[in-house]
Amino acid sequence: MFGLVNAVLCAALLSLAGCNGTGPAPVPGPNPDAAEYSVTIQAPPPAAGIATGLQDHSGQAVTAACASCHSTKLPDTSTRRGEDLDQFHHGLQMAHGDRSCLSCHNADDYNSLRLADGTSVAFAESMQLCAQCHGPQFRDYKHGSHGGMTGYWDLTRGARTRNHCMSCHDPHAPAFPTLRPLPPPPDAVRHEENSHE
């Protein structure tokens, strides 16, 4: 009898003091052999041509293919700065180290880009071009520690979308832009310190 009362009392005290349970049991984790969802890299802004400043009858901006001019115009290799450009490229701000236009643009085919070794690269594959100089950043990008992403950490359960280099870096002036920060949360620590004074 006393033992039972004691047990009931102990249980009551323990339930007041805390808990004996362990919570819902863990469920099986990711299966390393399971098929993985895809990782999609956000498409860079299309570089289908250059704005002409004209509009068609439906109000759409008219663009001219790069080759419209550059197939007949010989490249002027002395032009290295954006300010020196005229006509369609007037006002282009160039702030990318000491690169010149033809460091990346392909003088043999202006509808594509060009690696340092002369290999032609499509505009859609421009990350390869960035990577040839920015190796550490590309390495970090490949390992998920550079460049924003959304979606699933567990690719066996869902897909992921990743930023392209050009989502954040304008190739002509790649420095990350200065931002206005969002407002801070209340500063509880300092607020309390001040209120004690």
């Binding site: 339930s15 003091a17 805390g18 808990c19 004996n20 349970g21 362990t22 919570g23 819902p24 049991a25 863990p26 469920v27 099986p28 984790g29 990711p30 390393p32 550490p136 970090d140 990008y141 390992h143 998920g144 520690s145 550079h146 460049g147 924003g148 992403m149 959304t150 979606g151 699933y152 950490w153 567990d154 066996t156 359960r157 869902g158 930023n163 954040c168 990350f176 200065t178 931002l179 206005r180 920060p181 969002l182 407002p183 801070p184 949360p185 209340p186 500063d187 509880a188 620590v189 300092r190």
Partner: protein, 319 residues
């Protein structure tokens, strides 16, 4: 059983108080004492009855989260959904996702590319159903002078375009310590460490003593001075019992690495909001995960390592 006329206390007196025929002094004193006692008791428990006025009997008698049977847990989740509908006018889905075997969460932050834009703190504010009025968030971003690592000297309230050339930015949130001082000080075991590494709070078991807030060297815990005010349309309906369900007044709360998302395989809200990719999250038990690559290849450090808290939140610089 007792003799006729005995007062019943075994003293052997005649019981009629000296033959006066009225009340004895003893009886009067007893009655007065009982009345006073009852009044004092009523007064003493008055705060309890006031506090319990907006607390249902089910809620009051609810067991600790870890002692709930699956059926009880289902009922509790349903009750919380109903309460949220009544109090906030919003249909929500409260889940209690269990930890996964073979998953141990880790988080790392690249200080070289954080620009201090506070998108993470804002995402936390919205994701975790924080009070809109106070603009609460589990993340504080410190602006620090280059060359200094002491975030106590940092400024968490800066308001100018970022990043400044001579500054860097350090977001600080719960470090999900493996030796958590906040858990050891809790007098009622309302906070504990889950098998996947996340330190959680049972908001229905917490007594609001704030010991954990005092014990945390990172000031990662927050106290709900009042029930959060959130317009119905702003409430995030994807909720977890141990994470972002709307908390009541008088309880502690903290970052849970968004476990209602991360135990579903998704990234935490602060990571998705980061425009630069400074945040790296994943399973530290998966050798191919991004977090493991960072731990193996970057020079990582933890905040206040000398305290022996063993955080699961790591910081690193690129160079």
């Amino acid at each position: 059983m007792s003799e006729q006329g005995s007062c019943g206390s075994g003293c052997g007196c005649s019981g009629d108080g000296g033959g006066g025929g009225g009340l004895s002094r003893r009886t009067v004193l007893k009655a007065a004492g009982a009345t006073l006692g009852a009044a004092a008791f009523a007064h003493a428990v008055a705060p309890l009855t006031e506090w319990a006025a907006d607390l249902s009997m089910d809620e009051f008698l609810q067991k600790h989260y870890r002692e709930l049977t699956p059926d009880q847990l289902t009922q509790v989740l349903e009750r919380i959904e109903n309460d949220t509908r009544e109090q906030y006018g919003r249909e929500v889905n409260v889940r209690a996702l269990p930890p996964q075997e073979g998953v141990s969460f880790g988080y790392a932050l690249n200080l070289s590319i954080c620009v201090g834009c506070r998108r993470c703190a804002e995402a936390c504010h919205e994701e975790n159903n924080h009070d809109r009025d106070s603009h609460q968030s589990y993340i504080r971003v410190f602006e620090l002078s280059k060359g200094s690592i002491d975030f106590a000297k940092g400024d968490p309230s800066y308001d100018h375009p970022v990043p400044q050339d001579d500054k860097y930015y350090m977001p600080v949130q719960c470090q999900q310590c493996d030796n958590p001082p906040c858990v050891s000080v809790c007098p009622v075991e309302a906070t504990w460490k889950e098998p996947d590494g996340i330190v959680v709070v049972d908001y229905n078991w917490c007594i609001g003593c704030r010991y954990c807030e005092a014990a945390c060297p990172y000031h990662a815990r927050r106290f709900n001075w009042k029930a959060p005010e959130i317009p119905a349309e702003d409430i995030n309906p994807d909720q977890g019992y141990l994470s972002n369900r709307v908390r009541q007044a008088g309880v502690m709360e903290k970052c849970t690495f968004c476990l209602h998302r991360t135990r579903d395989g998704r990234m935490p809200a602060c990571l998705e909001a980061c425009p630069t990719g400074a945040r790296v999250f994943g399973n530290m038990l998966d050798p191919d995960s991004e977090i493991r690559w960072v731990l193996a290849n970057k020079r990582v450090f933890v905040l206040k390592e000398e305290l022996g808290t063993r955080p699961r939140f790591f910081y690193f610089f690129d160079e």
